[in-house]
């Protein structure tokens, strides 16, 4: 068993999740796809961290890695994933990478539920919602029968669904937004302490998306769980997260609270990304794009992976990859120029 127990009070309780130097690679015909490179972060109890990045930045890979649900051709090469359960003031530590199959099955969903991107197809089309709740409960020796139904109906109520109707439905009888909410309810069924939401609102229309965001905000107030929120959309991070981890080329390049990320970003990529997204209020001329395109994960450039697109890049950036630097204790950025980046880029992207 990979569990050790130590007693601690919940006040100074250690992070729910600690990810250290996680390296994940996919095997492709052309070579190794380096989808996760040295990913490290802590998720505090009750906190919400957003993993933000473009396609290929490694954000989904990181999420799948944490629950060890990577596809067959992917592998965790190194790193550590420590999950800490808090119960009655006692902390139980779990080394996720060391779990065997049976322990892993118990860990998934009971400790950490992951709600996926394409929730439209997240349910088995031939089973009623009730049966799929039953499956989940049975797999974890959770409630049964009437008690289970009561609990599920309560959750449906929380996610603003018509409980009795949903309970009896087949997935295809529910709209996309409803299915997404059912999946979130299912995620909360076993009272996990960690919830991972991977693009939970993509493919939904705006008003439904708004509804789900508001609902998640409410849930965070009423229920006690830590949240990892994966999205390509910076604006969603604003709504839901306490801290933002910006990812680029498989790595977290900046990690700090939401406010600082927007008001005082230190990494040129974060700065560029914020400037590249038009807002409803900003003037047209504020918006500038980042030149070039994201790197090929099989054939990464040397040095800082962002240097080919970075106007500040110098010789050091081209040869040596920066580690995480600390502008302030709660703000980290992987950039040699973190001190001057924001100022240098204030006048515009083209130098």
């Amino acid at each position: 068993m990979s569990k050790s127990t130590n007693q601690q009070t919940s006040k100074s309780s250690p992070p729910t999740l600690s990810v250290r130097n996680l390296v994940i690679e996919y095997q492709a015909k052309r070579g190794a796809v380096r989808a996760g490179r040295d990913i490290s972060f802590n998720l505090q109890r009750g906190e919400a961290v957003a993993l933000i990045g473009e396609s290929g930045s490694g954000k989904t890979t990181a999420g799948l890695g944490i629950v060890r649900l990577l596809p067959e051709n992917a592998q965790i090469k190194q790193g550590q994933i420590i999950y800490r359960r808090l119960e009655n003031g006692r902390v139980t530590e779990t080394d996720v990478r060391a779990l065997n199959d049976r322990q892993l099955r118990q860990f998934r969903w009971k400790e950490c539920a992951m709600v996926f991107q394409a929730a439209l197809n997240a349910f088995n089309p031939v089973l009623r919602i009730s049966a799929q709740f039953g499956d989940t409960a049975r797999a974890h020796n959770y409630l049964r029968g009437r008690k289970l139904k009561e609990r599920a109906l309560h959750l449906f109520d929380l996610v603003r669904l018509d409980p009795e109707r949903v309970w009896r439905s087949y997935p295809h009888e529910l709209s996309g937004g409803m299915r997404q909410r059912v999946l979130i309810a299912l995620g909360l069924l076993l009272e996990p302490q960690l919830l991972i939401l991977d693009e939970p609102t993509t493919a939904l229309d705006i008003l439904t998306q708004r509804n789900i965001i508001d609902m998640l905000k409410d849930l965070r107030k009423t229920l006690d769980f830590s949240l990892i929120f994966i999205s390509h959309d910076l604006s969603l991070a604003v709504e839901l997260a306490d801290r933002v981890a910006t990812m680029y080329a498989g790595r977290i390049v900046e990690l700090c609270d939401v406010y600082t990320t927007f008001k005082n970003p230190a990494h040129p990529y974060t700065i560029g990304l914020i400037n590249a997204v038009p807002t409803l209020t900003a003037h047209k001329d504020r918006v500038t794009s980042i030149p070039g395109s994201p790197p090929d994960l099989i054939d990464l450039p040397p040095g800082c992976k962002f240097h080919p697109r970075c106007p500040l890049a110098d010789e050091r950036c081209r040869t040596e990859e920066p580690g995480m630097e600390n502008p302030t204790p709660n703000h980290q950025a992987a950039c040699w120029k973190w001190q001057s980046a924001r100022e240098s880029l204030a006048g515009g992207w083209e130098l």
Binding site: G177, T208, K263, P278
Partner: protein, 333 residues
């Protein structure tokens, strides 16, 4: 009065979904686009914006109403006149992975229309033209790309090649259907800027279809925005005015619901509560104003029974809402 480049006149489009079930994807839409003008069609999935775009491009016939190109009904065009229209109105599609034929090289893709319409004679001239077009869309250096296949290009590059392919026939009107929504966030703006530059240089008119209001405002900065809901235009007017001072309740709700990358604005925003969460089925559109079952300002009988007409206010914005129109009775244009 000059003739608009494209005009839709009371256009509707129905699709048969089952034996005797129809959905009305576009419902009595009228709009005009002048030469060199930008119009953004904005709305959620299923609002009919793509269908409207396809009818303008002539890929779909209308069920009712007519589409005019330079004052002529496109359904009646024949011979040379049809050919002029056909080539003048082009489209940029959404999916960079499906918009280029995987079995043709970039050179072939661009040379087909050139050869077919005799726009360049001889291999040398065609090559020359292909290089020039690729340079125009920032695919540089073009020689590195001519013999590549689509799968060797990134999503953004593919979209640029689609634009170059369309430019071969010197169009004057472009329908861009969610042209950047599947492209990485960091390169969306540069792709949009390329389109804007081309528009400027070649005097193109553009109908830009998107679900992203902020993007619409950016792209149509000096142009117009039309907000669609369940097949109808509910509000239309100068882009910045529509986004900054929305009139129609639906536009207001939409704007208050969009997650925005502006931190301050988002933190201050008060959400508007809808009467109902469920989007009505296109199979059975609500009577009267289609937004009435969800409208936070729902007033009763009039909203339920009378279809509000899109009416122009003095400000230049047109709105289809009984409430707004009554409040602005004095401002009717």
């Amino acid at each position: 009065m000059t003739v608009p480049l494209i005009q839709m006149e009371n256009v509707s489009r129905r699709f048969q979904v089952k034996r005797d079930q129809y959905i009305t994807a576009v419902n009595d839409v009228s709009l005009t686009v002048d030469e060199g003008e930008i119009l953004c069609l904005v709305g959620e999935s299923g609002c009919g914006k793509t269908t409207a775009g396809k009818m303008i491009a002539g890929l779909l016939a209308t069920s009712e109403g007519r589409v005019f190109y330079k004052g002529q009904d496109i359904a009646q065009l024949k011979g040379q006149a049809f050919k002029d229209y056909r080539l003048a109105v082009q489209m940029v599609h959404q999916d960079p992975y499906a918009s280029l034929n995987p079995s043709h090289t970039i050179y072939e893709t661009i040379s087909f229309p050139l050869k077919r319409h005799n726009l360049a004679q001889g291999d040398e001239a065609i090559q020359q033209r292909a290089r020039k077009l690729l340079t125009m869309v920032d695919i540089t250096p073009p020689d590195d790309f001519l013999n590549k296949f689509p799968h060797q290009l990134s999503g953004g590059q593919r979209q640029r090649v689609s634009v170059a392919r369309m430019l071969t026939v010197n169009p004057s009107f472009i329908v861009a259907d969610e042209a950047v929504s599947m492209v990485d966030v960091s390169i969306r703006i540069s792709l949009l800027n390329t389109l804007l530059e081309l528009k400027q240089k070649m005097g193109l008119a553009v109908v830009f279809i998107t679900h992203d209001l902020a993007l619409a405002k950016y792209f149509a900065w000096d142009g117009a925005i039309a907000v669609m809901y369940l097949g109808k235009i509910v509000e239309m007017g100068p882009a910045r005015r529509v986004v900054d001072d929305p009139q129609h309740p639906y536009t207001q709700v939409l704007l208050s619901a969009v997650p925005d990358a502006d931190l301050d604005a988002t933190l201050q925003r008060e959400p508007i509560q809808l009467r109902s969460m469920d989007v009505p089925s296109l199979l059975r559109l609500p009577t009267g104003c289609s937004f009435h079952p969800r409208c936070p300002y729902f007033e009763g009988e009039q909203c339920e029974k009378v279809i509000p007409q899109l009416t122009r206010l003095k400000s230049g914005v047109s709105v289809a809402c009984h409430l707004v129109l009554r409040e602005h009775e004095a401002d009717l244009a």
